[in-house]
Subunit: 261 residues, 4 copies
């Protein structure tokens, strides 16, 4: 599995991406025209740290439109069709083009081996591998016998690898990362978003810092399946809100005002 | 494969759906309030044929927002994962929930047989069926050996059947039908949209009449792959525009004005 | 200002809307076909309370696609263009058709008076009303002098009232209500969503219960402008997370394990 | 009115934008990984003219996802609120941030004068200008008297100028241009898209060539309001399809096969 940031490169990100978001934010609150705001930001007439601080506040408050103005394009290769079927469910702020099993007549189809099968009983693993290889072999024979590619591929397993080009704006990328970096996400798609986060960090540690499981910005985990608190990243919503409720109750009992701030 | 219109039923469609679109259209051009327009339309104070005529004109002009106000929910079952992977690529005006191969531990997984394989050489078909059955058997054994369902399913073929609930507004449904009823669409998804069209016709022949390959409203086919004109539904764009150009040239040569209307 | 639920009526909501969401949820986790799940739910073979409980859990976990299958259509009338310009910024899961100031030649344009101007110094209020009336009069004179409606309306104030038809799925409605019922939203759009919530409650107290300022499901307020805690609906995120941090620190100091659940 | 392309600059467009679309197209039909396709395209190992030809064909066939991978960000300033209210109705593939009349307390609000009023009877024009100036003066006085900005702006006319940052992918830009460059679009928004097209031409004549009224790629006009053929850009759909029908009828009468290609 591979995820490569195709566009933009580090130089473009460093020169333009923070100024673009800053311009979108400032345009809402200023009588200045956007091209003048942008010119100043790019020229460094507005301090870079000040630009970042504004952006940080806007993202933390969930005012998301301002971070729809910058996009990242990834080449994604060698992921299973199981992963791609999940990935393309994302709709807002994201574009996909995927290798077509209908049009490509594969000469070298390859497959993904899950870790649980890699580590399984050798006999079980052998059966799995034979089954998968049998599928790929039969696919070739079906093509050879004149069956159209779009029908021959019915024999391909979910494990079959595929490639995609994915473009996403920052808002969608933060949203997807929030879901897919969660320890409860499927292992393969979680790994993909770890690679994607790594690519973003390479071109901008500041922007990369916003790619995290959703519990990190929320301050708590809201997954039903984590009511037992087995994931250590953040405590569950229930216990966090209970801690506050307890503190407020104690304050009230002592005749003190609620510590709202 | 099955497509069942879950909502709305024929009674609801007949009472409310044309009036809803009519209200959206009229609100744009009227000083009347929408609830009054709607009341009149539902009460039959505006002639039904007049309502339909307005809607027809609006749809033919491509002014699509007015037909986003009515939705249809389908239960779709027994389609291959090959179909579902294509289907969920639609993003605007459509919602999907799909049977999860991650969470469902299948006891009775079944598969789809393409017609080309059904009609293939018996030996080839036998090999295909054995391969598919082998996959389903191995899936059961993997589950039995404690492999998680989300990994065991890597062995499932594309042919594996799945179920979805799909809700789509009329605009998205016309758009999807335009692409998927085209003779160049994949046979399985084309069959699905034939079933869907049948369901819509059952509750409203008027609304069903807008579900057609995109060449029908366009008046020509714009598919590159049909430059040879093998699909008989409509002539290719190139020849239609050429016919006009020829007629205009003749008119000019004869000193006549261009017949623009 | 008026917001009227045009579709569906109470009978339709009671018969179909909870079963539709339930079917979407169950389809993901079941080998049963969606039309069978739906049939059972509508027939009451699945307990209504059980259906609601599943839906409640799914909404609270933020798994939103399942609540995109049901929609509500509102007639909205008498709101200012200030409100409508904000409202139509919502994009996902929502459709609008609005009275066109380009095509409608107003005979009876009317305007909205903000409470701060209603309660203002009488002289100031008089000037405001004269200015507004002057605009409407001039509009009429411009039309009379042959200026096209699309240009005459340049003189219309933001206060001018407009009508819309809005259709929204439940996910978008919860999202919009979360933002627009917040005490920091603009007063007019907040009032609109109070009317909308009232309409939903009329047809389903269960579904209406999910329409609340976003702080209610979150358990805390995340608005930068409420760091002083002036809005009493929920405490600010900062103090809630601090209460938890304090409790965890005390536990650690006492050698106790973190109370993660 | 001003529209300035903020991002990307000509150098970035020339180095990366055609290769990005090319990579999206090729990934669908190739076993090569997207990063390798992109590397070859950027390095010039694939002929630029060949890349453009593929892109041209894909756009002409309406296969739009491939052109969602490149975006353009514009600073737009000095447009009326009438224009902005229309512009932000676009939803797919586009992001907006707009100067807030709620948060900005204008010191120098300015307005747009339609040409029909500029050229109107001097007395009428004088009344219009007085009315508009009266609105801006009163706004200042309302602010001075302590009325909140969000209420004072109710007196602002539609003519009031505003600024936006707009980011759009190429697919959405072609779609919007198709509607807004049409001679039946409102004059102000049409002018805006002429400026936008000019900006795109400056960085890429190839990409700019796709920005045209929708009748240009269609080959005919499908606007109901142009059934009289008053707009000369393209003949109406009715006459184009009639020319083909006539030619086909003649062919049939002469016993010749239909000239489908």
């Amino acid at each position: 599995m591979k995820a490569t940031l195709l566009f933009p490169d580090k130089d473009i990100v460093e020169r333009f991406y923070v100024p673009l978001i800053y311009t979108a934010c400032r345009t809402c609150y200023s009588e200045l025209e956007p091209d003048e705001i942008f010119r100043r930001a790019v020229a460094g007439e507005v301090d870079g740290a000040k630009q970042q601080k504004l952006i940080q506040g806007v993202i933390e408050s969930g005012h998301g439109s301002t971070i729809e103005h910058i996009v990242f394009t990834f080449g994604i290769s060698g992921v299973s069709r199981t992963l791609s079927h999940q990935l393309v469910r994302h709709r807002a702020g994201v574009a996909f083009d995927q290798q077509s099993q209908r049009y490509v007549k594969y000469k070298g189809a390859s497959t993904m081996l899950p870790a649980t099968l890699e580590d399984a009983d050798p006999e079980l693993r052998r059966r799995y591998e034979e089954q998968i290889e049998g599928s790929l072999d039969l696919y070739g024979d079906l093509l050879g016998a004149g069956i159209p590619g779009e029908d021959a591929r019915f024999v391909f397993p979910n494990a079959t690898r595929t490639n995609l080009v994915m473009t996403t704006n920052l808002r969608a990328l933060i949203h997807m990362s929030g879901l897919r970096l969660c320890t409860m996400a499927q292992w393969e798609i979680r790994r993909l978003f770890q690679l994607i986060r790594h690519e973003i960090f390479n071109v901008s540690p500041f922007l990369g810092s916003f790619l995290a499981p959703k519990c990190v910005p929320l301050g708590y985990c809201d997954e039903m399946n984590n009511r037992d608190g087995h994931c250590p990243i953040r405590p569950h919503k229930d216990v966090v809100l209970a801690a506050w409720a307890e503190k407020a109750k104690t304050a009230r009992a002592a005749g003190r005002e609620l510590p709202v701030t």
